[in-house]
Amino acid sequence: MLELFTEFFRQLAEDHPRWNFIFFYEPRQWERILKGIRYTLWLSVACVIFSVIIGVVGAWLQNSSSVFVRRCVAGYIQFFRNTPPFVQLLFFYFALGQFTPAVTGPDGWTEVPIVSNVGWAIISLSFFAGAFNVEIFRSGIEAVPESTQEAASALGFSRFQTFKDIVLPLAFRVSLPALNNNLVNLVKTTTQAIGIAVPELLYQCVTIWNDFPSAMYPTMLLLFVTFIALVGVLVFGMHRWEKAMQIPGYGH
């Protein structure tokens, strides 16, 4: 069966040189694709989680009683929303990367920075998407009536308890559709990690078509299909979650 599959694509590449699906019949290239997908998934999952955490914390800090804290959050949002994410990535890796200490690598003599290029990609992308998430959660928080928070306060809830148990669960539900959009964007933006040589899917695909120019169309096709599937799974999951969190008789 697998034999038939690889044979088909080998033949296709011979008959139509522009359609060389080399990764389907050459194990080395297939390995590259799998490795790329693993990195893309890792980046996506890590960035989604961190960016949501940043969003929640930022939204909480935005309501801080300290003007200084509020200004810091506002400054953070302005910076990350108003500059290109690719430039941010380069800045984090090349500029900030220089100031992070290095440790001796496993071979005993090379210096390895403690934050790898993958680390910087995750940090920069999380902060980028996180800035949008702060705004998304803020709009959700603003949709929670003041009177509901007042009721919690009258029952003895502290400010933090009110946020954690009342405001956030309600705000989250309101925010989900917008969050959904931002996370979809984030997953797609992970491809720019190629700029600092993170071996994610786009990086692997470019490597393949550099080595085998005849494989360019097929690898591009593969990129599209993989991201459609990846984002499809994310959107499906988010919709399921949205449904599961729906409150009977509330807002619908």
Partner: protein, 250 residues
């Protein structure tokens, strides 16, 4: 805690309270005492400062001058332990303000578990009893959005009672309700009042006030114009403002 307070002293004592929102002075020196077990109704035209007054009692609004004490403790002292105050004073709002993402039972259970850190099984037992007390058995698992206004308001009453308060504040709790559900809420409050709970109500339900209140206060433009027990208040009001208000509403 400074507890020199004993039950023969006023449980809530309000002295010369002034409160402004910006340039607008809504309370211009309000003074009255509430004894333990008393049921007080505050009535008066809209904008007379009734709701503000009641919200000052549990510290939801601050005051500009004067003093409010609950069980001898100054509510607006800068070092006040808000949690201690909120444990003593329960409040029910006009718009119920239930937590929409929690079932009726969870609404009742939430504060004792989260705030008082009480044991979940005990809290649940008490919450179910409270649901029964407000006549809502069978509705424990309904979400607020699935309940009528009257039912939601009764859940809100049970939710406040779950904290075992010594004083209950009711801020126009029937004003947002359909006429046919007003009664079920009033019945719940009446039961509570008759069980000896100290209640302070802001209300427009004159018939109800007359029935359950030990004392009625009429406020207008930030001051108490007139007060007295219902038997005399409704029939022998002397101030022209009170008479005018009563003639419009009765």
């Amino acid at each position: 805690m400074n507890n020199s307070w004993s039950a023969d002293q006023p449980i809530v004592s309000i002295k010369d309270v002034h409160k402004s929102f910006g340039d607008l002075e809504v309370l211009k020196g309000v003074t009255f005492d509430v004894m333990k077990g008393e049921v007080i109704c505050i009535i008066g035209p809209s904008g007379s400062g009734k709701s503000t007054l009641i919200r000052c009692i549990n510290g939801l609004n601050d005051i500009n001058s004067g003093s409010i004490t609950v069980e001898g403790q100054e509510v607006h002292a800068p070092n006040l332990n808000k949690l201690e105050l909120r444990k003593k004073v329960g409040m029910v709002f006009q718009q119920y303000n239930l937590f929409p993402h929690k079932t009726a039972l969870q609404n009742v259970m939430m504060a004792p578990i989260k705030v008082l850190k009480q044991n979940k099984q005990d809290v649940e037992k008490r919450a179910r009893a409270l649901m029964e007390q407000v006549n809502l058995q069978g509705k424990e698992d309904s979400y607020p959005g699935e309940l009528s206004g009257g039912q939601q308001q009764r859940v809100a009453i049970a939710r406040s009672l779950a904290m075992n308060p010594d004083v209950m504040l009711f801020d126009e709790v029937t004003a947002a309700l359909d006429p046919e559900t007003v009664k079920e809420v009033l019945v719940a409050i009446k039961d509570l009042a008759q069980s000896g709970m100290t209640c302070i109500l802001v209300t427009h339900e004159m018939g109800f006030a007359r029935e359950i209140a030990d004392h009625i206060y009429f406020t207008d433009r930030g001051v108490i114009v007139e007060h007295g027990p219902p038997a005399t208040f409704f029939t022998e009001a002397s101030d022209p403002r009170t008479r005018e208000f009563l003639s419009q509403i009765l």
